[in-house]
């Protein structure tokens, strides 16, 4: 193993000085590229706009303030407080929609993924191909239909409508990720459960599901992230104030002359935090799930 390691460039400290410098510089550059812009968003969100406009710009803010966040929370009165006051309620809407869609996906998508991974049944291949087809389908083409149908059903400007629309692009993905995951769970597990007297359903939820945590986390976190970040569907379907999610609200604030960039940056950072934390925490499982789901796709 030691020699094998050496062949792939070797351990960092076993490298020559020059090679270490090159690698170290490259790693630093990649880190800066990945994290720098997001860190700068945070820096602007704790800065005063006047300091951002200063020439030369100081990369360490001369004065750190939480005023931008206070404005969003409604703790400070200011001229655009009406718009800033939409942030928190829309975050709540996003949380509800993303939470419900994730729950639906975990229950229905996981169950179907399990069946596709384990059993042969009539129309299996056909329905799998249909799923693959829907997975590749652009959501944007469904939105005009959602618009007219939801108007007829009274689902326009409701969170339920968003839940329905979001399931259209999350369910096929979840089934696919979970199918790929269950294929890595040994089938002997279910077999011995059946021998031990479980029926098929019990074998699934009493034996297989409890050891499928990583797969569930991968599928769930990915679904939640997609919904939390979704913009176009919410922007088009939920236009009534107070009914939409966070991304359209932030997009609406952007470019308004009366709102400082630093305030928008604060709402952007606050809005990004849940998804970023989720992904950082569950990174390992998500990477496994996503690469398995994509590469096999």
């Amino acid at each position: 193993m030691a020699t094998a390691r050496a062949r792939r460039g070797g351990a960092y400290w076993a490298r020559s000085g020059r090679s270490r410098v090159v690698l170290g510089t490259l790693v630093a550059l990649v880190t800066l590229w990945l994290v720098g812009p997001f860190l700068w968003l945070f820096v602007t969100s704790v800065s005063y706009q006047k300091h951002l406009m200063a020439r030369p710009l100081s990369f360490v803010p001369p004065e750190v303030t939480l005023d931008n966040y206070r404005m969003i929370m409604g703790l400070v009165r200011f001229h655009a407080e009406g718009q800033a006051a939409k942030i928190l309620p829309s975050m709540w809407n996003t949380l509800v929609v993303a939470g419900v869609v994730t729950a639906v996906n975990l229950v229905l998508g996981t169950t179907a993924g399990y069946a596709y991974a384990r059993f042969r049944f009539p129309l299996r291949t056909v329905s799998l191909l249909a799923l693959l087809f829907t997975r590749m389908l652009p959501t944007i083409v469904l939105i005009p239909a959602f618009f007219v149908i939801f108007r007829a059903l009274g689902l326009q400007n409701t969170l339920s409508g968003l839940v329905v629309a979001y399931c259209s692009f999350t369910l096929p993905f979840t089934v696919w990720i979970m199918k790929a995951y269950f294929e890595t769970v040994p089938a002997d597990l279910d077999k011995s459960a059946l021998v031990d007297g479980c029926n098929r359903l019990q074998a699934y939820y009493k034996v297989v599901l409890p050891v499928s945590g990583p797969g569930l986390v991968a599928g769930g976190a990915f679904t939640f992230m997609l919904c939390w970040n979704e913009f176009v569907v919410a922007q088009v379907l939920n236009t009534k104030p107070g009914t939409t999610t966070l991304p359209p609200v932030i997009a609406g604030m952007n470019g308004q002359i009366n709102i400082d960039y630093s305030v928008i940056a604060a709402s952007g950072f606050l809005g990004a935090l849940p998804a970023v934390l989720l992904v950082l925490i569950f990174q390992k499982y998500m990477v496994q799930g996503l690469t398995a789901g994509s590469v096999k796709g």
Binding site: R5, R7, R8, G9, G10, A11, Y12, L23, V27, V30, V35, P37, F38, W40, L41, M53, F59, L108, A112, A115, A117, R120, F121, S127, M136, P138, I140, V141, L142, F147, V148, I149, A152, A165, C167, S168, L171, L194, R200, Y204, M225, N229, F231, V236, P247, P248, I250, N254, A265, G271, A272, V276, V279, Q283, M286, V287, L290, T291, S294, V295
Partner: protein, 314 residues
């Protein structure tokens, strides 16, 4: 593929499997198939959202308007519009540039992250940050870097002595379009890196050992060992990027709104605006359907090629 169930239980296997998959299949039929067909129908009709009379499907007190069939009128109108064609060429440039940038950057980052250095696990977590952000936030934070008045990148370039005055990145169309490409690349390349890294880890050490024995240097090993082994994944990345490139919409909304003029108007933006800003649902859905056709065609080609490739390789 697991085959479970033994003896007498095998009989009910298919029934049980159907019980498990039918909720999803019914759900997908309702939230994907029905809207898909209805959108297609709308693209052949004279949709007028204000009209409340005319043909409709009525059931349980719900009235779903069907509007009037106009044949290919919407499609002919779309294809007769020079803006459609100029948007299509622009889209092709956007997609081409994006695919190249994202693949190259994704591969470059993967090569760096595949080396051994202290803190590598942390780096792999950080990799996902750009990808886990909403595109609205992605656009927003790049405004903070590129803005003509307070952009940090402008300030950085000026301090380094590379520019005399702040650059107005969004002032002319060509620059705006290329900024869109690069910002989208920043957001998407990490996913390519993820796939490349997964692929690199499954390459056998013996291949590298053999190459080393033959006296191959770093780049030769990359060209003759890494790249050939990653071929299916490179291909997957190319296709995913192509489809994503065709569909990109939210960054345009937050950064350029299709402007200046029509200089960043792509097919997806044109379809979005026609449908939801001007409420011309007929021509709008027609545009969106041409886009869908393109994407599905690409996916089909991809599956042909990649599945064929896998079979050939065993």
């Amino acid at each position: 593929m697991g085959k479970s169930g033994a003896g007498g239980l095998r009989l009910s296997e298919a029934g049980f499997a159907w019980l498990l998959v039918s909720p999803v299949l019914i759900g997908i039929a309702l939230v994907v198939a029905v809207p898909l067909v209805y959108s297609l129908w709308l693209s052949f009709t004279d949709v007028n959202l204000l009209r409340t009379t005319g043909p409709a499907l009525e059931a349980f007190g719900v009235r779903l308007p069907l509007y009037h069939w106009v044949g290919l009128k919407n499609y002919l109108q779309v294809f007769g519009d020079p803006l459609y064609w100029s948007s299509l060429w622009r889209t092709l440039y956007f997609v081409g540039a994006f695919v190249v940038e994202a693949t190259v950057a994704g591969m470059a980052m993967a090569l760096v992250l595949n080396e051994r250095f202290p803190g590598r696990p942390l780096m792999r977590s950080l990799l996902l940050i750009p990808w886990s952000l909403s595109r609205i936030v992605v656009g927003l934070l790049w405004v903070g870097l590129l803005d003509f008045e307070f952009g940090a990148l402008n300030a950085l370039l000026q301090r380094a002595g590379l520019i005399d005055a702040y650059i107005a990145f969004f002032k002319d169309g060509w620059s705006s379009l290329n900024v869109l490409v690069s910002v989208y690349m920043w957001n998407q390349a990490p996913f390519a890196t993820l796939l490349f890294l997964a692929g690199m880890q499954s390459i056998g050490e013996d291949l590298y050992a053999a190459a080393e024995v033959d006296g191959a240097g770093y780049w030769q090993r990359f060209r003759h060992v890494t790249l050939p082994s990653l071929r299916p994944i490179v291909f997957l990345v190319l296709v995913l990027c192509t489809v994503n490139g065709f569909l990109m919409l939210d960054l345009i909304y937050i950064l350029t709104m299709g402007g200046p003029g029509y200089d960043t108007t792509t097919i997806s933006w044109l379809g979005f605006q026609t449908t939801f800003k001007f409420f011309k649902f007929g021509p709008g859905t027609a545009i969106l359907y041409t886009l869908t056709g393109l994407c599905l065609l690409l996916t089909l080609i991809y599956h042909r090629l990649i599945l064929g490739g896998f079979e050939a390789e065993g």
